[in-house]
């Protein structure tokens, strides 16, 4: 159990560092590590990652708001259609096989690594 909690802490720290450096939620790191290190099922990993990102995003947005770098009307304009999108995306995901998901995510990571290396 101790090693499970240690792994959770390592995943959280890696996701947090990624988030802090690049200004995104860190899901691209959290999802595959939950699958590979903690034995999560693919869908479980994405659901749990989203819960983590809601917390990470709130903390980070709070830090930015403190410095005044948040534009609420713009956040609504991009965020409201995202709510419709995320409901559709989670519904669609229930129809995708776990192995296909791993394949798609592997491609996403290679693309992301390529963008980082540029």
């Amino acid at each position: 159990m101790a090693s499970r909690n240690a792994r959770l802490a390592v995943i959280a720290t890696l996701g947090g560092v990624f988030s802090g450096v690049f200004g995104v939620g860190g899901g691209v790191i959290i999802v595959p590590l939950l699958i590979l290190w903690l034995g999560y099922g693919e869908r479980e990993a994405t659901g749990t990652s989203l819960a983590a990102i809601a917390v990470i995003g709130a903390l980070a947005a709070g830090a930015h708001a403190y410095r005044g770098a948040v534009d609420v009307p713009s956040a609504l304009l991009v965020g409201l259609p995202a709510l419709v999108g995320v409901v559709a995306g989670t519904a669609l995901q229930q129809r995708v096989s776990a192995r296909a998901f791993s394949g798609v995510f592997a491609v996403l990571l290679v693309v992301a690594a390529g963008l980082l290396a540029l």
Binding site: I29, T48, L50, V86, G89, T90
Partner: protein, 131 residues
């Protein structure tokens, strides 16, 4: 400051579309959608980079929360560990913010790119049924 009011109809439509696509990707992949939010806010609404990041993070919160709530209904959420990940990540966020100031971004990008390639290799093996 009124970026939405100053934007043309085409830019507004583009932001709405980008938001929907980002939400879809968020639900499918379990990521926050910030990768699409940030360029949409910066390029279409003309927000400064730092403002685009902060604003994107604000939009990520309800998107991720609604996604997690939907996954809970589907039986795909370990809420306790998810919240633990979120809280434990705070140290990482502070470390990352500090690193971003002290270490060249090039070095940080390279380390994460290597980590991603390794993880992609492991996931690809899994997709092929070898793991």
């Amino acid at each position: 400051m009124d970026a939405v009011g100053a934007a043309g109809a085409a830019a507004v439509a583009g932001v709405l579309l980008a938001g929907f696509v980002a939400g879809m990707a968020s639900g499918l992949l379990g990521v926050g959608g910030g990768v699409l939010f940030v360029p949409a806010l910066a390029l279409l609404l003309g927000l400064a980079p730092i403002e685009a990041v902060g604003t994107s993070l604000l939009a990520v919160v309800p998107t991720a929360a609604v996604g997690a709530a939907r996954q809970r209904r589907y039986g795909n959420l370990r809420l306790g560990e998810g919240l633990a990940l979120g809280v434990l990540s705070l140290a990482g966020v502070l470390l990352g913010t500090e690193l971003a100031h002290r270490v060249p971004e090039r070095a940080l990008s390279s380390v994460f790119a290597l980590l991603m390639l390794y993880v992609a290799f492991r996931l690809a093996r899994r997709a092929l049924g070898r793991e």
